[in-house]
Amino acid sequence: MSEKVKLYDATKCTACRGCQLACKQWNQLPAKQTINRGTYQNPPDLQPNTWLLMRFQEISDGNGGVKWIYRKQACMHCTDAACVKVCPSGALHYTKYGTVSMDPAKCIGCKECIYACPFDVPRYDPETDKIAKCDMCFSRIDNGLEPACVKACPTGALQFGDKEKMLKLAYARVKELNGNAYVYGDKFVGGTHMIYVLPEEASVYDALPEKPRVPISVIAWKDLLKPLSLLATGGVLLGAFLHYILHGPKDTSGDQAGQGGGE
Protein backbone atom coordinates (compact mmCIF):
# COMPACT_ATOMS: atom_id res chain seq x y z
CA MET A 1 0.00 0.00 0.00
CA SER A 2 1.42 3.32 -0.97
CA GLU A 3 1.90 6.09 1.54
CA LYS A 4 -0.73 8.79 1.54
CA VAL A 5 -0.17 12.48 2.11
CA LYS A 6 -2.52 15.34 2.83
CA LEU A 7 -1.32 18.55 1.23
CA TYR A 8 -2.31 21.90 2.72
CA ASP A 9 -1.55 24.87 0.50
CA ALA A 10 -1.86 27.95 2.70
CA THR A 11 -1.68 30.21 -0.35
CA LYS A 12 -4.99 28.82 -1.61
CA CYS A 13 -6.66 28.77 1.80
CA THR A 14 -9.32 31.35 2.68
CA ALA A 15 -9.62 30.14 6.28
CA CYS A 16 -13.30 29.40 5.86
CA ARG A 17 -13.00 26.73 8.53
CA GLY A 18 -15.06 24.29 6.50
CA CYS A 19 -12.38 21.68 7.22
CA GLN A 20 -12.59 22.29 10.97
CA LEU A 21 -16.36 21.75 10.87
CA ALA A 22 -16.15 18.72 8.58
CA CYS A 23 -13.64 17.17 10.98
CA LYS A 24 -16.04 17.66 13.87
CA GLN A 25 -18.93 16.23 11.86
CA TRP A 26 -17.20 13.10 10.60
CA ASN A 27 -15.51 12.32 13.90
CA GLN A 28 -18.61 13.26 15.91
CA LEU A 29 -16.90 15.87 18.05
CA PRO A 30 -19.58 18.37 19.04
CA ALA A 31 -18.25 21.81 19.88
CA LYS A 32 -18.42 23.23 23.36
CA GLN A 33 -19.47 26.79 24.08
CA THR A 34 -16.56 29.21 24.02
CA ILE A 35 -16.18 32.95 24.53
CA ASN A 36 -15.51 35.67 21.98
CA ARG A 37 -11.83 36.48 22.25
CA GLY A 38 -11.80 38.86 19.33
CA THR A 39 -10.48 36.32 16.86
CA TYR A 40 -11.82 33.76 14.45
CA GLN A 41 -9.49 31.23 16.06
CA ASN A 42 -11.97 29.32 18.07
CA PRO A 43 -11.44 27.31 20.26
CA PRO A 44 -8.09 28.92 21.17
CA ASP A 45 -6.11 25.69 20.82
CA LEU A 46 -6.41 22.04 19.83
CA GLN A 47 -8.68 20.19 22.26
CA PRO A 48 -9.71 16.59 22.90
CA ASN A 49 -12.79 17.39 20.80
CA THR A 50 -11.05 19.65 18.28
CA TRP A 51 -8.53 17.67 16.25
CA LEU A 52 -8.22 20.26 13.52
CA LEU A 53 -7.94 23.97 14.20
CA MET A 54 -7.57 26.95 11.91
CA ARG A 55 -5.07 29.28 13.53
CA PHE A 56 -5.33 32.99 12.71
CA GLN A 57 -2.60 35.60 13.15
CA GLU A 58 -2.09 39.24 12.32
CA ILE A 59 1.51 40.10 11.56
CA SER A 60 3.32 43.19 10.35
CA ASP A 61 4.02 43.21 6.62
CA GLY A 62 7.14 45.33 7.20
CA ASN A 63 5.68 48.42 5.51
CA GLY A 64 3.43 49.62 8.31
CA GLY A 65 0.63 47.39 7.15
CA VAL A 66 -0.88 44.23 8.55
CA LYS A 67 -0.92 40.75 7.07
CA TRP A 68 -3.56 38.24 8.06
CA ILE A 69 -2.18 34.72 7.94
CA TYR A 70 -3.67 31.39 8.83
CA ARG A 71 -2.66 27.78 9.18
CA LYS A 72 -4.51 24.51 9.42
CA GLN A 73 -3.21 22.80 12.55
CA ALA A 74 -3.66 19.06 13.07
CA CYS A 75 -1.56 15.95 13.54
CA MET A 76 1.35 15.95 11.08
CA HIS A 77 1.50 12.12 10.90
CA CYS A 78 5.29 11.78 11.17
CA THR A 79 7.13 8.87 9.58
CA ASP A 80 9.39 8.80 12.65
CA ALA A 81 6.64 9.52 15.17
CA ALA A 82 7.79 10.20 18.73
CA CYS A 83 4.27 9.47 20.03
CA VAL A 84 4.32 5.95 18.58
CA LYS A 85 7.81 5.46 20.00
CA VAL A 86 6.74 6.24 23.56
CA CYS A 87 3.21 4.80 23.59
CA PRO A 88 3.34 1.89 26.08
CA SER A 89 0.19 0.13 24.90
CA GLY A 90 0.41 0.38 21.13
CA ALA A 91 -2.66 2.62 21.09
CA LEU A 92 -0.77 5.02 18.84
CA HIS A 93 0.34 3.10 15.77
CA TYR A 94 1.36 3.43 12.14
CA THR A 95 -1.16 2.48 9.49
CA LYS A 96 -0.42 0.96 6.12
CA TYR A 97 -0.79 4.46 4.64
CA GLY A 98 2.08 5.82 6.77
CA THR A 99 -0.33 7.82 8.89
CA VAL A 100 -0.51 7.60 12.68
CA SER A 101 -3.77 6.25 14.05
CA MET A 102 -5.05 6.04 17.58
CA ASP A 103 -6.92 3.10 19.11
CA PRO A 104 -8.88 4.52 22.06
CA ALA A 105 -9.59 1.03 23.43
CA LYS A 106 -5.86 0.54 23.99
CA CYS A 107 -5.07 4.01 25.39
CA ILE A 108 -4.29 3.95 29.11
CA GLY A 109 -4.19 7.71 29.54
CA CYS A 110 -0.52 7.82 30.56
CA LYS A 111 0.00 11.13 28.70
CA GLU A 112 3.51 10.13 27.58
CA CYS A 113 2.76 11.09 23.96
CA ILE A 114 1.87 14.64 25.01
CA TYR A 115 5.45 15.26 26.09
CA ALA A 116 6.99 13.46 23.12
CA CYS A 117 5.18 15.08 20.19
CA PRO A 118 7.35 17.80 18.60
CA PHE A 119 4.19 19.47 17.24
CA ASP A 120 2.27 19.44 20.57
CA VAL A 121 -0.73 17.68 19.03
CA PRO A 122 -2.11 14.95 21.35
CA ARG A 123 -4.70 16.22 23.81
CA TYR A 124 -5.78 14.54 27.04
CA ASP A 125 -9.49 14.18 27.69
CA PRO A 126 -10.16 13.91 31.45
CA GLU A 127 -13.71 12.68 30.77
CA THR A 128 -12.54 9.55 28.97
CA ASP A 129 -9.05 9.42 30.54
CA LYS A 130 -7.68 9.01 27.03
CA ILE A 131 -5.71 10.89 24.42
CA ALA A 132 -7.37 12.25 21.30
CA LYS A 133 -5.91 13.40 18.01
CA CYS A 134 -6.49 13.46 14.24
CA ASP A 135 -6.18 10.02 12.61
CA MET A 136 -6.44 11.46 9.10
CA CYS A 137 -9.93 9.93 8.92
CA PHE A 138 -8.62 6.37 8.80
CA SER A 139 -12.19 5.09 8.51
CA ARG A 140 -12.54 7.09 5.30
CA ILE A 141 -9.16 6.63 3.65
CA ASP A 142 -9.27 2.90 4.30
CA ASN A 143 -12.46 2.88 2.23
CA GLY A 144 -10.99 4.83 -0.65
CA LEU A 145 -12.36 8.19 0.43
CA GLU A 146 -10.42 11.33 1.14
CA PRO A 147 -10.31 12.75 4.70
CA ALA A 148 -13.38 14.79 5.70
CA CYS A 149 -11.40 18.04 5.81
CA VAL A 150 -10.17 17.54 2.23
CA LYS A 151 -13.66 16.65 1.06
CA ALA A 152 -15.04 19.88 2.53
CA CYS A 153 -12.35 22.25 1.21
CA PRO A 154 -13.95 24.58 -1.37
CA THR A 155 -10.77 26.21 -2.73
CA GLY A 156 -8.50 23.25 -3.41
CA ALA A 157 -6.15 24.27 -0.59
CA LEU A 158 -6.44 20.71 0.74
CA GLN A 159 -5.58 17.73 -1.41
CA PHE A 160 -5.06 14.10 -0.63
CA GLY A 161 -3.31 11.31 -2.49
CA ASP A 162 -0.20 9.23 -2.95
CA LYS A 163 2.88 10.68 -1.30
CA GLU A 164 4.96 11.10 -4.49
CA LYS A 165 2.13 12.79 -6.31
CA MET A 166 1.38 15.20 -3.45
CA LEU A 167 5.05 16.12 -3.04
CA LYS A 168 5.30 16.76 -6.77
CA LEU A 169 2.22 18.99 -6.58
CA ALA A 170 3.65 20.84 -3.58
CA TYR A 171 6.98 21.57 -5.27
CA ALA A 172 5.26 22.54 -8.52
CA ARG A 173 3.10 24.98 -6.58
CA VAL A 174 6.13 26.50 -4.85
CA LYS A 175 7.78 26.98 -8.24
CA GLU A 176 4.60 28.50 -9.62
CA LEU A 177 4.37 30.98 -6.72
CA ASN A 178 7.94 32.02 -7.47
CA GLY A 179 8.45 33.79 -4.15
CA ASN A 180 9.09 32.98 -0.51
CA ALA A 181 6.71 30.03 -0.42
CA TYR A 182 8.24 26.69 0.47
CA VAL A 183 7.35 23.10 1.34
CA TYR A 184 7.18 22.26 5.05
CA GLY A 185 7.12 18.68 6.29
CA ASP A 186 9.08 16.39 3.97
CA LYS A 187 12.53 17.21 5.39
CA PHE A 188 12.19 16.21 9.04
CA VAL A 189 10.95 13.41 11.36
CA GLY A 190 11.31 11.08 8.39
CA GLY A 191 8.83 13.18 6.46
CA THR A 192 5.36 14.09 7.64
CA HIS A 193 2.18 12.83 6.01
CA MET A 194 0.66 16.25 6.21
CA ILE A 195 2.66 18.57 4.01
CA TYR A 196 2.34 22.34 3.99
CA VAL A 197 2.97 24.91 1.31
CA LEU A 198 3.61 28.01 3.42
CA PRO A 199 4.02 31.62 2.23
CA GLU A 200 5.78 32.73 5.44
CA GLU A 201 8.76 31.46 7.41
CA ALA A 202 7.86 28.70 9.90
CA SER A 203 9.05 30.89 12.77
CA VAL A 204 6.30 33.40 11.97
CA TYR A 205 3.53 30.92 12.73
CA ASP A 206 2.23 30.22 16.20
CA ALA A 207 2.86 26.75 17.59
CA LEU A 208 4.86 25.64 14.55
CA PRO A 209 8.38 24.37 15.22
CA GLU A 210 11.05 25.45 12.73
CA LYS A 211 13.06 22.25 13.03
CA PRO A 212 10.86 19.57 14.56
CA ARG A 213 12.60 16.41 15.74
CA VAL A 214 12.07 13.47 18.04
CA PRO A 215 13.07 14.98 21.41
CA ILE A 216 16.49 14.02 22.82
CA SER A 217 14.71 12.93 26.01
CA VAL A 218 12.77 10.34 23.98
CA ILE A 219 15.93 9.12 22.22
CA ALA A 220 17.80 8.87 25.55
CA TRP A 221 14.87 6.97 27.01
CA LYS A 222 13.92 4.59 24.21
CA ASP A 223 17.11 4.17 22.18
CA LEU A 224 19.66 4.26 24.99
CA LEU A 225 18.29 3.43 28.45
CA LYS A 226 15.75 0.84 27.30
CA PRO A 227 18.25 -1.37 25.43
CA LEU A 228 20.80 -0.80 28.21
CA SER A 229 18.35 -2.09 30.80
CA LEU A 230 17.84 -5.23 28.72
CA LEU A 231 21.60 -5.65 28.49
CA ALA A 232 21.99 -5.13 32.24
CA THR A 233 19.24 -7.63 33.00
CA GLY A 234 20.88 -10.24 30.79
CA GLY A 235 24.23 -9.37 32.33
CA VAL A 236 23.22 -9.93 35.93
CA LEU A 237 21.24 -13.09 35.17
CA LEU A 238 24.13 -14.62 33.26
CA GLY A 239 26.66 -13.19 35.72
CA ALA A 240 24.92 -14.71 38.74
CA PHE A 241 24.63 -18.08 36.99
CA LEU A 242 28.31 -18.09 35.98
CA HIS A 243 29.29 -16.96 39.47
CA TYR A 244 27.38 -19.86 40.98
CA ILE A 245 28.85 -22.54 38.71
CA LEU A 246 32.41 -21.15 38.48
CA HIS A 247 33.19 -19.31 41.71
CA GLY A 248 30.62 -21.14 43.75
CA PRO A 249 28.57 -19.98 46.72
CA LYS A 250 30.32 -18.58 49.75
CA ASP A 251 30.98 -21.07 52.49
CA THR A 252 29.51 -19.72 55.71
CA SER A 253 29.16 -23.08 57.43
CA GLY A 254 32.23 -22.63 59.61
CA ASP A 255 33.37 -26.19 58.89
CA GLN A 256 37.13 -26.71 58.87
CA ALA A 257 38.65 -27.64 55.55
CA GLY A 258 38.41 -31.34 54.96
CA GLN A 259 35.67 -31.93 57.49
CA GLY A 260 32.85 -31.78 54.98
CA GLY A 261 34.85 -33.38 52.20
CA GLY A 262 34.80 -36.91 53.54
CA GLU A 263 38.56 -37.32 53.30
Binding site: S217, L225, H243, K250, T252, G254
Partner: protein
Amino acid sequence: MIPKKGMIKVSDGFERIIHWWLAITCLLLILTGLGMMFHSLNFLGIPVGGLKNLKLVHNFTGILFIPALFFAILTWWREAGVFEFPEDLEWIKCAGGYLWHVDNPPETGKYNPGQKAFFLAVAVFGVLMVISGLIMWFPLGMPRGLVAWMYPLHALGLLVIFPFFFIHLYLGTIGVPGSAPAIFTGYVTRSWCEKQCPKWLKEMEETGKLEVFGEEKDAAHH
Protein backbone atom coordinates in the same frame (compact mmCIF):
# COMPACT_ATOMS: atom_id res chain seq x y z
CA MET B 1 12.84 -22.35 60.07
CA ILE B 2 13.05 -22.29 63.85
CA PRO B 3 16.23 -20.66 65.23
CA LYS B 4 18.58 -23.00 67.03
CA LYS B 5 20.34 -22.36 70.27
CA GLY B 6 23.42 -20.20 69.78
CA MET B 7 22.14 -18.42 66.67
CA ILE B 8 22.62 -14.68 66.54
CA LYS B 9 19.98 -12.03 66.05
CA VAL B 10 20.88 -9.74 63.15
CA SER B 11 17.53 -8.06 62.46
CA ASP B 12 14.60 -7.11 64.65
CA GLY B 13 10.93 -7.45 63.77
CA PHE B 14 10.63 -3.87 62.52
CA GLU B 15 13.59 -4.30 60.17
CA ARG B 16 12.12 -7.51 58.79
CA ILE B 17 8.75 -5.87 58.16
CA ILE B 18 10.38 -2.90 56.42
CA HIS B 19 12.55 -5.23 54.36
CA TRP B 20 9.57 -7.25 53.13
CA TRP B 21 7.42 -4.19 52.60
CA LEU B 22 10.17 -2.66 50.47
CA ALA B 23 10.94 -5.93 48.70
CA ILE B 24 7.34 -6.69 47.73
CA THR B 25 6.51 -3.15 46.58
CA CYS B 26 9.80 -2.99 44.67
CA LEU B 27 9.22 -6.31 42.91
CA LEU B 28 5.64 -5.38 42.07
CA LEU B 29 6.79 -2.02 40.72
CA ILE B 30 9.42 -3.67 38.54
CA LEU B 31 6.96 -6.22 37.13
CA THR B 32 4.15 -3.74 36.48
CA GLY B 33 6.62 -1.20 35.13
CA LEU B 34 8.15 -3.70 32.72
CA GLY B 35 4.62 -4.55 31.54
CA MET B 36 4.33 -0.97 30.36
CA MET B 37 7.92 -0.57 29.18
CA PHE B 38 7.90 -3.41 26.65
CA HIS B 39 5.04 -4.14 24.26
CA SER B 40 6.06 -7.79 24.42
CA LEU B 41 5.33 -7.72 28.17
CA ASN B 42 1.94 -5.98 27.86
CA PHE B 43 0.37 -9.37 28.74
CA LEU B 44 1.42 -8.77 32.36
CA GLY B 45 -1.66 -6.55 32.51
CA ILE B 46 -4.03 -9.41 31.76
CA PRO B 47 -4.33 -10.70 35.37
CA VAL B 48 -5.54 -7.29 36.51
CA GLY B 49 -7.85 -6.71 33.56
CA GLY B 50 -5.65 -4.79 31.15
CA LEU B 51 -2.82 -2.34 30.82
CA LYS B 52 -4.82 0.54 32.23
CA ASN B 53 -5.32 -1.33 35.49
CA LEU B 54 -1.66 -2.33 35.43
CA LYS B 55 -0.86 1.37 35.36
CA LEU B 56 -3.13 1.90 38.38
CA VAL B 57 -1.52 -1.00 40.26
CA HIS B 58 1.91 0.47 39.42
CA ASN B 59 0.95 3.96 40.56
CA PHE B 60 -0.69 2.93 43.83
CA THR B 61 2.10 0.45 44.62
CA GLY B 62 4.35 3.47 44.17
CA ILE B 63 2.39 5.22 46.91
CA LEU B 64 2.94 2.20 49.21
CA PHE B 65 6.63 2.24 48.23
CA ILE B 66 7.06 5.76 49.65
CA PRO B 67 6.70 4.90 53.38
CA ALA B 68 8.72 1.69 52.87
CA LEU B 69 11.54 3.73 51.35
CA PHE B 70 11.26 6.36 54.07
CA PHE B 71 11.54 3.84 56.90
CA ALA B 72 14.27 1.89 55.09
CA ILE B 73 16.43 4.99 54.81
CA LEU B 74 15.69 5.95 58.41
CA THR B 75 16.46 2.44 59.67
CA TRP B 76 19.59 1.56 57.74
CA TRP B 77 21.42 4.72 56.72
CA ARG B 78 23.77 4.61 59.70
CA GLU B 79 24.83 1.00 59.14
CA ALA B 80 24.52 0.81 55.35
CA GLY B 81 24.67 4.40 54.11
CA VAL B 82 28.16 5.50 55.14
CA PHE B 83 31.40 4.19 53.66
CA GLU B 84 34.26 3.87 56.08
CA PHE B 85 37.74 4.45 54.79
CA PRO B 86 40.22 2.92 54.32
CA GLU B 87 38.77 -0.51 55.19
CA ASP B 88 35.86 -0.24 52.73
CA LEU B 89 38.27 0.76 49.97
CA GLU B 90 40.39 -2.31 50.71
CA TRP B 91 37.26 -4.45 50.47
CA ILE B 92 36.27 -2.86 47.15
CA LYS B 93 39.77 -3.46 45.74
CA CYS B 94 39.39 -7.21 46.25
CA ALA B 95 35.59 -7.20 45.64
CA GLY B 96 35.24 -8.70 49.10
CA GLY B 97 36.50 -12.02 47.75
CA TYR B 98 33.24 -12.52 45.87
CA LEU B 99 34.75 -12.60 42.38
CA TRP B 100 38.13 -14.25 42.78
CA HIS B 101 39.92 -16.05 45.59
CA VAL B 102 41.10 -13.79 48.38
CA ASP B 103 42.75 -15.36 51.40
CA ASN B 104 41.63 -12.90 54.02
CA PRO B 105 39.13 -10.32 52.77
CA PRO B 106 38.99 -7.19 54.94
CA GLU B 107 36.64 -7.59 57.88
CA THR B 108 33.36 -5.76 57.48
CA GLY B 109 30.82 -4.35 59.87
CA LYS B 110 27.09 -5.03 59.70
CA TYR B 111 27.02 -4.33 55.96
CA ASN B 112 29.80 -4.66 53.41
CA PRO B 113 30.55 -1.96 50.79
CA GLY B 114 28.58 -3.89 48.16
CA GLN B 115 25.51 -3.79 50.36
CA LYS B 116 26.19 -0.14 51.11
CA ALA B 117 26.27 0.61 47.39
CA PHE B 118 22.94 -1.20 47.02
CA PHE B 119 21.45 0.75 49.91
CA LEU B 120 22.66 4.06 48.47
CA ALA B 121 21.39 3.16 44.99
CA VAL B 122 17.95 2.35 46.37
CA ALA B 123 17.91 5.41 48.62
CA VAL B 124 18.99 7.90 45.94
CA PHE B 125 17.24 6.39 42.94
CA GLY B 126 14.24 5.37 45.04
CA VAL B 127 13.65 9.03 45.87
CA LEU B 128 14.20 9.96 42.21
CA MET B 129 11.75 7.23 41.15
CA VAL B 130 9.13 8.63 43.53
CA ILE B 131 9.62 12.21 42.32
CA SER B 132 9.74 11.34 38.61
CA GLY B 133 6.88 8.88 39.02
CA LEU B 134 4.61 11.43 40.68
CA ILE B 135 5.37 13.99 37.97
CA MET B 136 4.65 11.35 35.30
CA TRP B 137 1.37 10.54 37.05
CA PHE B 138 0.29 14.20 37.29
CA PRO B 139 2.16 15.97 34.50
CA LEU B 140 -0.49 18.46 33.41
CA GLY B 141 0.46 21.98 34.41
CA MET B 142 4.12 21.06 34.90
CA PRO B 143 6.83 22.58 32.69
CA ARG B 144 7.05 20.57 29.46
CA GLY B 145 10.82 20.21 29.49
CA LEU B 146 10.79 18.94 33.07
CA VAL B 147 8.12 16.30 32.40
CA ALA B 148 9.88 15.16 29.21
CA TRP B 149 13.05 14.29 31.17
CA MET B 150 11.22 12.47 33.95
CA TYR B 151 10.66 9.46 31.64
CA PRO B 152 14.36 8.79 30.90
CA LEU B 153 15.13 9.47 34.57
CA HIS B 154 12.57 6.82 35.55
CA ALA B 155 14.13 4.42 33.05
CA LEU B 156 17.59 5.19 34.47
CA GLY B 157 16.27 4.35 37.93
CA LEU B 158 15.30 0.89 36.74
CA LEU B 159 18.66 0.46 35.02
CA VAL B 160 20.46 1.22 38.31
CA ILE B 161 18.14 -0.51 40.78
CA PHE B 162 17.35 -3.75 38.94
CA PRO B 163 20.90 -5.19 38.69
CA PHE B 164 21.49 -4.41 42.38
CA PHE B 165 18.11 -5.90 43.23
CA PHE B 166 18.90 -9.13 41.43
CA ILE B 167 22.44 -9.46 42.78
CA HIS B 168 21.04 -8.84 46.26
CA LEU B 169 18.46 -11.57 45.68
CA TYR B 170 21.16 -13.99 44.48
CA LEU B 171 23.61 -13.28 47.31
CA GLY B 172 20.85 -13.29 49.90
CA THR B 173 19.79 -16.81 48.90
CA ILE B 174 21.90 -19.38 47.03
CA GLY B 175 24.97 -17.13 46.61
CA VAL B 176 25.64 -16.94 50.34
CA PRO B 177 23.86 -19.87 52.01
CA GLY B 178 22.61 -19.14 55.49
CA SER B 179 21.68 -15.53 54.71
CA ALA B 180 17.95 -15.90 54.13
CA PRO B 181 17.02 -16.63 57.77
CA ALA B 182 18.08 -13.04 58.54
CA ILE B 183 14.90 -11.82 56.85
CA PHE B 184 12.62 -14.61 58.12
CA THR B 185 13.45 -15.31 61.75
CA GLY B 186 16.11 -12.67 62.18
CA TYR B 187 18.59 -15.26 63.49
CA VAL B 188 21.70 -16.50 61.66
CA THR B 189 24.49 -18.86 62.66
CA ARG B 190 27.57 -17.59 64.47
CA SER B 191 29.82 -18.88 61.68
CA TRP B 192 27.75 -16.89 59.17
CA CYS B 193 28.32 -13.77 61.26
CA GLU B 194 32.04 -14.48 61.49
CA LYS B 195 32.20 -14.57 57.71
CA GLN B 196 29.71 -11.83 56.83
CA CYS B 197 29.98 -9.23 59.58
CA PRO B 198 32.94 -10.08 61.84
CA LYS B 199 33.58 -6.51 62.95
CA TRP B 200 29.97 -6.06 63.95
CA LEU B 201 29.99 -9.36 65.82
CA LYS B 202 33.05 -8.34 67.85
CA GLU B 203 31.56 -4.93 68.55
CA MET B 204 28.31 -6.42 69.78
CA GLU B 205 30.13 -8.90 71.99
CA GLU B 206 32.36 -6.21 73.45
CA THR B 207 29.42 -3.96 74.27
CA GLY B 208 27.31 -6.87 75.48
CA LYS B 209 24.55 -6.09 73.02
CA LEU B 210 24.69 -9.40 71.18
CA GLU B 211 21.42 -11.32 71.28
CA VAL B 212 21.98 -15.07 71.15
CA PHE B 213 19.05 -17.45 70.81
CA GLY B 214 18.47 -19.39 74.02
CA GLU B 215 20.73 -17.14 76.09
CA GLU B 216 19.97 -14.22 78.39
CA LYS B 217 20.63 -10.95 76.61
CA ASP B 218 22.88 -9.40 79.27
CA ALA B 219 25.26 -12.35 79.41
CA ALA B 220 28.19 -10.03 78.84
CA HIS B 221 30.69 -12.42 80.40
CA HIS B 222 31.29 -14.11 77.08
